[in-house]
Symmetry: C2
Subunit: 467 residues, 2 copies
């Protein structure tokens, strides 16, 4: 991933656009290198390709103005939320204008009776949940980072709660989108379901800014459960942990979170978050429901784990114990990076049918060992989704080549097992190479849609589809 395709820059068009934006937006426009680099890619080994300028938009109309100006001059548009995406989504390989949506941060409506809300794209998930707290509702999608809702929609994010509450594809009811020709359109309605034509909402969710700029999102919310309990459960092997997951889900236990940490990952979180867990494959679990329901779920889970030689689980019903545990889970990235001071981590994810999970994780661990890499594994195993955080010395070119080759094999392995090259990170620049193997002839349908909606290819070029 050291080499990313460079697209052709339209110098003349970019010059016109920069000058016009400076006039229109004043100090809400910047072409300073530091600002531009903050809006290029910063979170992985993919090199930073900064845009030519950054606009801090505050309204749908402003976004439309910028897009129309860019469209008229053949200049790329790159939507930007919080910059926490992992596959080079916000890079500007052909230059262009980054539209920073972080100042579109208003919660436009919360409707407790409908269990929904409408927010601007720059609202982050944590702030939304802080605002919702008094209503007894919450927004369950939790990718770890405090990402913007717009960015989460654009990458079809999910995270630890997805096994119960679904992903952004399930959470989004409706969108406001600025199209590549600068029209402001609404997709979907607040009705819970509809059969009224093509599902444009689901098409835009996960389109990574390549079909338009998502500016407002209407989200499904959920009632905060009466009771929440969670815990950790050690296992003798990856297989035993995975069998427990499969059986738990087959038994219809509505488990809210079920996360697998391999032994190395447990070692990393022990060191980073001072947890003192046994350094063996471990499931972090959480149950939501009524008091009686949660007690029943925990009991059944414990029995299933015991059947596979796991447990006993240590459950925590107190909010602060639970928070500490899940904070440790969320800090797994930093814990892993901390394993080798000075090295950098590359986070990659794949997702396979759950029956293939143990085989895929085990083969991946063997590959890691054979490659001489250090790479803890953590997974949203209820969905068959797992992450590998591959560490490498940034100065060691050979090691980085080994990492690239390992990531390639990981993706091919997941696809060969009937899975996908990314469960939740998205394609960006980093996963483009794997789409032909995964989608085959369907990739041509994606290209046809891209050409139809963005005929001048100005929307986030070089992402998802090869140029």
């Amino acid at each position: 991933m050291g080499t990313v395709t460079r697209l052709v820059r339209n110098e003349t068009g970019i010059g016109v656009v920069l000058e016009t934006l400076a006039d229109l937006f004043g100090d809400r426009f910047s072409s300073a290198l530091s600002v531009r680099e903050q809006h290029g890619h910063t979170t992985t080994r993919i090199e930073n390709q900064p845009p030519d300028g950054v606009v801090f938009a505050t309204t749908n109309e402003e976004v439309a103005t910028v897009v129309r100006l860019c469209a008229a001059n053949g200049v790329p548009v790159i939507p930007f939320g919080t910059g926490t995406s992992l596959e080079g989504h916000v890079n500007a390989p052909a230059g262009g204008i980054s539209i920073d949506l972080s100042r579109m941060d208003r919660i436009l409506a919360v409707r407790p009776e409908d269990l929904d809300c409408t927010v601007q794209a720059g609202v982050t998930r944590k702030r939304l949940n802080e605002t919702l707290r008094d209503t007894g509702l919450f927004f369950p999608i939790d990718p770890g980072a405090d990402a913007s809702i717009g960015g989460m929609a654009a990458t079809r994010a999910s995270g630890t709660n997805a096994v119960r509450y679904g992903t952004m594809k399930d959470a989004v009811l409706a969108l406001t989108v600025v199209t590549p020709d600068g029209e402001i359109v609404r997709t979907g309605t607040r009705a819970r379901k509809s059969s009224a034509g093509y599902d444009l909402t689901r098409l835009m969710v996960g389109s990574e800014g390549t079909l338009g700029v998502i500016t407002e999102i209407t989200l499904r919310l959920h009632g905060i459960p009466e009771e929440i309990a969670g815990g950790v459960c050690p296992f003798p092997s990856i297989e035993a942990a995975c069998e427990t997951v499969i059986t738990t889900i087959q038994a219809g236990i509505p488990i809210a979170r079920i996360e697998l940490l391999d032994a190395l990952q447990v070692k990393a979180v022990n060191a980073y978050s001072k947890l003192g867990l046994a350094e063996t494959p471990t499931l972090f679990v959480e149950f939501h429901g009524t008091k009686a329901g949660v007690a029943e779920q925990m009991e059944i889970f414990d029995a299933i784990a015991a059947d596979f030689g796991g447990g006993p689980a240590a459950f925590a019903t107190k909010a602060e114990e639970r928070t500490r545990l899940w904070q440790a889970r969320h800090d797994a990235y930093w814990a892993s990076v901390g394993l080798v001071p000075g090295w950098k981590g590359t986070s990659t994810d794949v997702c396979v049918p759950i029956s293939q999970l143990a085989a895929c994780v085990t083969a991946t661990q063997e590959d890691i060992a054979a490659s001489g890499l250090i790479a803890p594994i953590v997974g949203h195993v209820g969905d068959g989704n797992f992450h590998v955080l591959v560490l490498a010395d940034p100065a060691d070119a050979a090691m980085n080549e080994t990492v690239d080759a390992f990531i390639g094999r990981l993706n091919e392995r997941a696809i060969a097992m009937g899975g996908t090259c990314t469960g939740e990170h998205g394609v960006g620049q980093g996963k483009i190479a794997y789409l032909p193997a995964e989608h085959g002839g369907a990739l041509e349908l994606m290209r046809a849609i891209k050409r139809a909606i963005d005929p001048h290819a100005i929307m986030n070029p070089g992402k998802i589809l090869a140029p």
Copy 2:
């Protein structure tokens, strides 16, 4: 709806295609009027527009052959499952070839460990559930009719269980689709979630055969709950019933079914199914879970209903009592048609945010009364979705005009309340007129997608998008 746009027929192309298909398919091809009329629209007042010929396909390759032949000759292709759609989806306004998929009825794989299965498009939902029974799994989407899985995917069907288990958009993991140029492509994988590019699966689900022919479907399955209990609960008013629904859902009760019947609908099912219920607005409910969980859910529901002056609920835990109740619910259509012997029924559906449900149902009842119509209402109220079965004397032109005008107002009312002109029936021919009001500028995106994927407009022309 007496007048449906007639598209231009391509007589020369049709002649060539009919001759070739007769040669290729022998007795699996028919141009007999009776067969053609069975494959035109039969289930509502929309007039029957039969295709020119019907092919009974048995493989993906045969479907691809037919589509390629039709594409080469500019002849329409109309996919056909069981013909139970309600808005003219299978009509052939420009003639063409109906591809009957009912003989593609193989269940290709059931994978209990992954809670999924893959079926050919012609498998019906009842047969799938019969086959699954021994595995402890079931397929929850239940639109009433014993529709084909392909047809259910094509219309984004849902039904009584959707409040808990979602709609076909949630149930479908992956598809095999024959594209308008006769390529066989696969969308999606068996992974539970993916961020690997545009969500073609969700684009095809609900596209009503206008973007390709769905030939195989991979579906999510669910474990048969340990305990199922259901019952009926009477209410003094529509408002009281709707408030009970809203509160039940806000409380996080994972109710599996919650159906509203208005007083007239109860009267109809009493007469048809000999139920003896009080003829007042009534909720039919069903709870799934563990024994303790279901008992708890019923108790909480009963308390909520009492708060709004409803109840007491009469619960049935015995399978046969429950079956009788839900059979009566499913027979609501026939029960309603039976209210006036000799008249015909038109079933239409809309869906609104749940907070608007009581207002929408009440305004609709007032409209029915003011229009002098007979039209019972039944709804999947957990989703804000309701159906009106409007009765009319087929020989009375004025009455049928009144029905059309009423249906128009119903759709406009739902859209004005933030809802959709169809929650689950689909657009077909009958709802095309309402899409501009519902989708505004987004309709142009749908047209762009249609042009991109089906440039020669051969796939089910005259459906969803106006010609």
